[in-house]
Symmetry: D3
Subunit: 193 residues, 6 copies
């Protein structure tokens, strides 16, 4: 129902895109039933597109001490802190699906301190928030606080790197005034029977 | 699905409440099908309860140059700025219903600058945000900016007073760690056929 | 000596006000010798006027674990943080009178950390300041810190609710550019002999 | 009535101070009827004492396009922005006396935007506030704005330099936890008949 | 001379790295005479390493309406705003070399408003700073301001995307406590004769 | 190589200055080989000039529990926090010379938390930063933290007073748009053989 343009920048005809870029777009369309606008908006710069999604995959799809749901929590929490509409709405949908919880994304996007999460997850989001908002103050005591909650040093990297990546992603969405697809708003809100 | 307590403070048995407080609660239950937690949380202080809802009614139910939907936009935008979970979720539901728009509340709660609203509504929310975040800098030029968008002086009062009232309401929700009812999250998301 | 208008908004002739509103104004005039401008400024909206003062009375006049002077400390401290001239000046006068101390209001309005108050009162104002400035970060540890100073859970509510109410009141005063009556500036400065 | 120590640091016996420092202290005592605590607190470091007051005199006592009252407005406004109790209270008294206005200091200390001052004085305090809070953003446009209000380039220097000096002075008062003398609170509040 | 560890995280033996990662490292070593620590610190995550440098190349090495020196100005300015030691020192060196100017990097890192740059470059850095610090407020007026300085829409993307990328990069450097190589500090300071 | 004017304000012919001011300028020129611009910029106000440098000498040249290098660390760290180009560049040079360390100034100016300093020096800069950025929150616990690192009460004064003085000095440099001499940028970067 949103009639705002997809982006402040013009975007290309998918048919004219380099083969690999087009393939990636068609694949996500097949899987999701629609093309998330971030693919269209970034496709005008194929090299940046490739690097962006390679980086995203490297952080979000790999094996990790964090579940995929927890990684989405980091995305949604930090995107909320950065007031980034696209990332809150799109990754909110993914979080609902990953966690099979229709409430969690709205909670974490608004104020993760009020969310139905474990103390360990709260500590994870405290660290992610610090990396997002005042990374220059991160120190060894922050790392130790995570270790006390059972996070490995690799987990610390994952938490921080996801927060850092979305510091970039949020700014790209704001720069381009990227519109979330209408589909995202309702995805995962009603648990399938 | 949230199992967090309704509030950081104990709350009373509805059966033991003063007659008028209980009546108000039963009335909203009849209308909505559930009792929004704000009624339960505030009911332990009947005098504050009465004043709170009288004030809310005086601002939100009366005749105004602002539509009821626009007034909810102010609530959702400023509650988002204040990271107030209860008010974002509960009034987000009301906004979806008032505007018959399942997307608008998430947009305005995250970043009203990216929302599908008119320039006039954007000016309204700019003013509401200023009252919410740095009221001590409000000056005649702000009022004039609203007037140029066609708002009357009474409208200016309404915008500012709603923002001010929810500055209080947001803080009460945070003070009490008020939990939004699960029902609110999905209300108004799927337009009725 | 201030010749600034009482408010950015026009205000009504007291003679034309609803009976109960007028009665409240005459009563305060009789008690104080003048009509505090907040009564005149809010009277143009009788329903809001009634709710505002009912709420104020419910918080400031009732029995409480906080003395009336301590409640005024909360008002003055948070109004100072919000740079609200009307509330600092008007409630500064009340605080001087309540505490029979001509210095305390200026201290608390400027920097409560430098004021002649007890450690318990300092903790009370730390909490009130947090509710005023970043309520979304209030957590159980804050409540426990107050409990260790001997505050009951009801006292915690009172401190937070007064801070929340004046978050609204400060914004109404800034919205309306409410002028403090000249009388307030000197009230309570010289202890009566 | 304040029983807080004069300073966080010990201070010397006036009788043991270097002759010129003691003379300055006796002179202010003779003129004011009491010794403002800033003299006692800084006297433990005679070289810093001499430089501090020489600088203060160079800015506040010399001929200037700004009246002495206007210079005190700058002191009170910026000290209020820095939440500095000593400077707000002590220079508030001087401002009341200079301007023969018992209300102005409280207005300017709380929120100079609400004070009974001229637009020219408002522009002066806007610039002083910028120098105090974000000097690194001062640019030629700020200077030109002052010039349009009739300030000379020398006046611009005076406004900025007074704001800068009290950026230091406020920090010294906070560092030392300098207590304002009780006398300051009431000085100039009641116009002499 | 710095004896601080290269990173808070252990880093791998270059000999054990995947062939392409090692090749990239050897290439930069050959070109620069040393291996910038960012290569060592990120190499422990080869997939992230590849994506990071592919993205960096896509932004910094391609044809653009911005000179390579101007792109480094954006890096240094935003890294300074984020207090990121590694990026200020390493890219400061690159900026000195690109612009053949030994002073510019220190100026831009400290306060680009005081730097020896053109008004067009100042506008470029104003926009980059906004993307870095409050991207959620970027609007069409910001884009138009750049257009008036002759920047194309592609240039706007470049400025914003470089600022966004280093929002990530700065956070990675802070997360890992990445130490700048000693060599960077002096590079480009003395123009070669 | 910088061709920006030395200051936003005109400055006097050294030949026409009062004898003592001129003597001071000639002395620094003899010692340094050039006249640091701060001397030229402040000389137009001889009384302020005298007080400024007397104060500076009283803090920076006297016997102290802090080495001269440590005092320059305070100057560079707080000037970095205030984004003051002149002070970062000029005192960065002095710090390099005092500490015979070509890297330290850039580290401390960008983010003292990442600098090669001792925990005691880190505590010193934490306190200096608090005095610089939020002096109104300094309390006895801050002083005790310094004492635990072995600082005497006189050292606490020195740290705070140097931070306070440069709060002023930074603002004077920004007010006047003071240009650092080109010489400062390279001084002390290459240890003499």
């Amino acid at each position: 129902m949103s009639d705002r343009p997809v982006s402040r920048f013009p975007f290309p005809d998918v048919g004219n895109l380099p083969e690999d870029v087009r393939a990636r777009i068609l694949k996500v369309q097949e899987k999701s039933g629609f093309v998330p606008n971030v693919f269209l908006v970034l496709a005008r710069r194929p090299d940046e597109f490739r690097a962006f999604f390679a980086y995203l995959d490297a952080l979000m799809e790999k094996e990790s001490g964090l579940t995929k749901g927890e990684r989405e929590m980091i995305v949604v929490a930090t995107s909320g802190l950065n007031d980034c509409l696209y990332c809150v709405v799109a990754h909110g949908a993914v979080l609902r699906i990953r966690e099979k919880n229709p409430l969690l994304a709205d909670q974490i996007a608004t104020n993760y301190r009020s969310a139905d999460i474990t103390p360990r997850q709260k500590a994870m989001l405290d660290f992610a928030a610090k990396v997002s908002l005042r990374a220059h103050e991160v120190d060894d005591a922050d790392v130790e606080a995570l270790r006390r909650h059972g996070f490995s040093l690799e987990d610390v990297w994952d938490i921080g790197a996801i927060s850092a990546f979305f510091a970039m992603s949020n700014r790209m969405a704001s720069l381009t005034n990227m519109r979330p697809n209408d589909e995202f708003y309702s995805l995962g809100r009603i648990p399938k029977v």
